[in-house]
């Protein structure tokens, strides 16, 4: 509901970026999610960036405990949650201290006054209160005593103050919803769904929400509000979706379209665990999840499940991939189809476990002993995870090979609108298993078809009994063989098989001019930032194109030609130059690296500036 009379002027915007930040316990992730869904429902394009600490709940009021959720909603297609925040909502001093630098000059700053007590200021490292010392004068500062007003709003419900204070995030939402002219309906529906069983809590949250909204209407302090028109999205039904959710659903869809039973063997690890959580809830979709004792067992179980004919998938993050490497070698030798998902996080070792990075590409390519190649795909955005999952399984089954999927914390936890496909429209993934032999000929488990892949013969099939293993096998028969020539033949064959996939994947697409001075290459979760940066540069007529790679092994057949058509090749990635190294090796191209390794995504601004520098070098 939006109140009838609107006393204050509404300014139209193309896009707005809002960030909620506060203590881990303040429910900021929920506030962000609600604003996201509401804006999506309002027809905006949206992009989000949740950012929370490694600690489950660091002590209240500490910087370490600050949790934030940023959302950008727009009237046009957008690819990122935005660099700078237009409106920053901070629930306490620590949140202000750690987030202020991202607020645009003269931006809107809403603070929960009561989060700036003596202790709060100390924990945040403030000598004296920034609310008092004028250091915030350059912003549109709105001091709101959310605690008091929330308590007042829910008074007659007789909750404990602790319970009452838990409603504060709804007050903050209400205020922001008013500020950006958002409907309260979706959130009110959510409240009923979520808290229906505890009516008092449900009502309290609702009251807090409206109190916040009404505060906006009545307060003298805030004089204008904003509106963002619906975006022109392709027609269809949409939902908001996170990367991990899209990946999980993509796996289920791939199993369906290939008539396989889905097996997900894994060991929990941030930021991959949500895939397990989602899949374990989908048992009625014929999904079996196995929480193994460790990643090695998870990988080994996947090899066993694949031997049995399942769509066998494992998911983890960098440390888990390191542990899986030996068993992945077995997967390559047995030439069974399976998927290995790496939701990358900042390394090395334990690194920054909740932060994002793209530094596991070389490990995906070379992280196993011996010559041990496998195909690698990377998802560009939350919704893209769905397609990547299906495509990876298509390749795995057609080429009888493990396939690695690279995601990252930014893609996995971020969300965006997803145009919902009709299952009926999704391409089938054909999977064949040989039946009992009819010709009396001995069965050859390592015979090859036109894709150089071997038959997927399943235990239980009369007459096809065979043994697989990690020792080198005789071509065709697969029997253990120490024949030197056969070893080289098999090494080359496994490599040729993977290389051959290049003829079975789309040619590399290029956004922008077919040729020119600079082509920017990117892969994985940096798509949005790079695409946005390049578009901005186009507006100044820059001669720059963008090639975003989904296929990292093998590389698309036309990639080399594309690179040759530009004076300069720039590779943007969140690592020290891993794809850049691969391109230098493959094509002897003197690619320039545009790298960031801070555990945080690229900002559009820094990309624009860096690419501009390359363009300038040229002229």
């Amino acid at each position: 509901m939006a109140p009838a009379e609107q006393r204050k002027p509404v300014v139209d915007l193309d896009a707005a970026t809002v960030r909620f930040c506060g203590d881990s316990g303040d429910g900021m992730q929920l506030a962000g999610t609600q604003l996201t869904n509401t804006s999506a429902l309002a027809g905006n394009d949206v992009a989000t960036f949740p950012d929370y600490p490694a600690e489950i709940r660091a002590p209240r009021g500490t910087k370490a405990g600050v949790s934030g959720f940023q959302i950008r909603f727009a009237a046009d297609k957008i690819f990122t949650p935005g660099d700078q925040v237009n409106a920053l909502v901070t629930m306490n001093a620590a949140a202000l201290a750690t987030n202020l630098q991202d607020l645009e000059p003269h931006g809107i700053l809403i603070v929960n006054e009561d989060g700036f007590g003596k202790r709060d200021l100390e924990l945040a490292g403030y000598e004296h209160s920034p609310l008092e010392d004028g250091s915030l004068d350059s912003y549109q500062l709105y001091r709101v005593d959310m605690t008091k007003m929330t308590r007042a709003a829910v008074k007659e419900l007789g909750l404990s103050t602790k319970e009452a204070d838990r409603c504060r995030n709804f007050f903050a939402m209400g205020l922001v919803f008013w500020l950006y002219d958002r409907s309260l309906d979706p959130t009110e529906r959510f409240i009923i769904e979520k808290f229906g069983r505890r009516p008092a809590i449900a009502e309290a949250n609702q009251k807090a929400l409206r109190a916040g909204y009404n505060f906006g209407i009545t307060t003298e302090a805030i004089v204008r509000r904003f509106a963002v028109r619906p975006a022109e999205l392709p027609p269809g039904t949409y939902r908001n979706i996170t990367g991990n959710m899209a990946l999980a659903w993509g796996l289920i869809a791939a199993a369906k379209t290939s008539d396989c039973h889905l097996f997900y063997g894994t060991y929990p690890i941030t930021p991959a665990s949500d895939i397990l959580h989602e899949l374990s809830r989908r048992k009625n979709f014929d999904v079996r999840t196995f929480q193994a004792e460790d990643e090695i067992a998870a990988m080994a179980s996947v090899v066993g499940a694949a031997f049995g004919g399942a769509m066998a998938v494992t998911g983890t993050s960098g440390p888990g991939v390191s542990l899986k490497s030996e068993a992945m070698g077995l997967a390559v030798m047995t030439e069974l189809p399976m998927l290995v998902i790496n939701v990358q996080r900042a390394g090395p070792s334990t690194g920054l476990p909740t932060k994002t990075e793209q530094a596991d590409l070389l490990q995906a390519l070379y992280g196993r002993h011996g010559e041990c190649p496998l195909p690698i795909l990377a998802a560009r955005s939350p919704a893209d995870c769905f397609e990547v999952a299906m495509e990876a399984w298509r390749i795995a089954t057609r080429y009888m090979t493990p396939v690695m999927i690279l995601s990252d914390a930014y893609v996995a936890n971020g969300s965006e609108p997803w145009r919902i496909p009709e299952m009926g429209d999704l391409p089938r993934i054909p999977v064949n298993h040989p039946g009992p032999p009819t010709d009396g000929e001995p069965f050859l488990p390592y015979a090859r078809d036109e894709h150089l892949s071997r038959p997927w013969a399943l235990p239980g099939t009369p007459g096809l009994m065979h043994r697989l293993g990690g020792l080198e096998g005789q071509k065709q028969t697969g029997a253990v063989s120490y024949d030197p020539a056969n070893h080289e033949y098999m090494i080359r064959l496994r490599a040729r098989k993977v290389a051959g996939i290049a003829n079975d994947i789309p040619l590399q697409e290029l956004e922008g001019p077919e040729s020119g001075s600079v082509v920017v290459l990117s892969w994985g979760g940096t798509y949005g930032a790079v695409a946005t940066a390049v578009r901005q540069l186009w507006e100044d007529g820059a001669s720059v194109a963008h090639a975003h790679l989904r296929y990292l092994s093998p590389l698309p057949a036309n990639l080399e030609q594309i690179l040759q058509r530009f004076d300069r090749v720039v590779v943007a990635e969140l690592n020290a130059g891993q794809l850049r190294g691969v391109l230098r090796k493959e094509f002897l191209v003197d690619a320039v690296g545009l790298n960031k390794i801070t555990g945080r995504p690229f900002t559009v601004a820094e990309l624009v500036e860096a690419i501009q520098q390359e363009l300038d070098k040229k002229s």
Partner: protein, 341 residues
């Protein structure tokens, strides 16, 4: 051989032999175990295509190559995990894990205990030669203290693992021990293990003629073995000895050896109960070591416990019953959606 698809009416052991030449050292105990396995499957007439042998790495782990069934010679120590993925997806198959004392207890110890505690319906056969055979003679987790090997020239200082105690500690539902050359007894254990639902764990004393020859002389030598071993029989008192004149009695809470006749009669002896709900007795039995005690062979424990693979698949059916078979179209449209014309 994998061409003739049909198994004869009365299959012979040879029907389960693959065309691969067996490559263990002449005299290796593994030959006897291989022979018994083929006999057992033949006697139970289990279709070859429904049997899968998963092994790790080691001499013992070459076993699957020699069986005309499905099989995987996987990687060192991981066979139980490979078997887990296979079994939960294909519960109708009989899955065997073949492992060694190094493969199963050293690098693979964790997978072993987790498979056992989950009670996955597989059969794990551990060839215990108390040495690393394939890598040419280093001590293993079952090598006795002070054992001199290539990697312990002054004697091993690693207190050995008593694997059956550990298995009981993990509440194994089926635990047995046998001896490579005791063919009838081994055959019996293999058959019982195959029939059991849940994880069957068998330790087989196996002689490595090259690197640990004679480790089990006490258990195989005609002269002493009847005093050195105690053959467990369900419901029977714990009697042993050449003249079956000795037995095991409980003194306080610990077992003791008594000679029948002088002051002790069969009625004083502990009676074996492989089906006891509490594994206390089974635990005792695992603590008996030669020469202080005779070492029990046979079925230590055989009880019914819910099986992991069964429970997992039951949850699937329940979920389908409760929520109906999942529709992705429905799932995709669940929660908040909006439409753009």
């Amino acid at each position: 051989m994998s061409t003739e698809t049909a198994l004869p009416e009365k299959p012979k052991a040879t029907d389960y032999a693959s065309d691969q030449e067996v490559r263990w050292c002449p005299g290796c105990g593994d030959y006897a175990i291989l022979a018994q396995m083929k006999k057992t499957l033949a006697s139970m007439a289990i279709p070859r295509e429904n049997v899968v042998f998963i092994s790790g790495i080691g001499c013992s782990s070459r076993f699957p190559y020699y069986m005309n069934t499905y099989g995987m010679h996987s990687i060192h120590g991981r066979a139980p995990a490979v078997a887990t993925g296979l079994k939960v997806m294909r519960p109708e198959l009989s899955v065997f894990v073949i492992t060694g004392d190094g493969d199963g207890l050293s690098i693979g110890g964790n997978h072993l205990i987790h498979a056992i505690r989950r009670n996955l319906d597989i059969n794990i056969i551990l060839f215990n030669n108390r040495i690393y055979g394939l890598t040419k003679g280093q001590y293993s987790p079952t090598s006795p203290l002070a054992k001199v090997t290539k990697s312990s020239p002054m004697g091993s200082i690693d207190n050995p693992l008593n694997i059956l105690s550990v298995a009981i500690g993990c509440e194994a539902s089926f635990v047995a021990r046998s001896v490579d050359v005791n063919t009838k007894h081994l055959g019996m254990c293999l058959e019982r293990a195959t029939e059991h639902h849940g994880t069957s764990f068998i330790e087989v004393y196996q002689n490595c003629v090259v690197f640990n020859d004679g480790a089990y002389d006490y258990a195989t030598d005609r002269k002493i073995r009847s005093d050195a071993l105690l053959e467990l029989e369900h419901g029977k008192p714990l009697v042993f000895g050449k003249d079956r004149d000795k037995g095991i009695r409980l003194s306080g809470i610990d077992p003791e050896v008594v000679t029948l006749g002088d002051g002790a009669s069969e009625s004083d002896l502990l009676v074996h109960d492989e089906a006891a709900a509490e594994p206390s007795l089974a635990y005792f039995l695992t603590r008996m070591h030669y020469p202080a005690f005779p070492e029990p062979i046979g079925i230590f424990r055989c009880v019914d416990r819910p099986q992991y693979d069964e429970m997992l698949n039951d949850q699937i059916s329940q979920a389908v019953e409760k929520q109906g078979p999942g529709s992705l179209d429905k799932l995709f449209h669940s929660g908040e959606t909006w439409t753009v014309q």
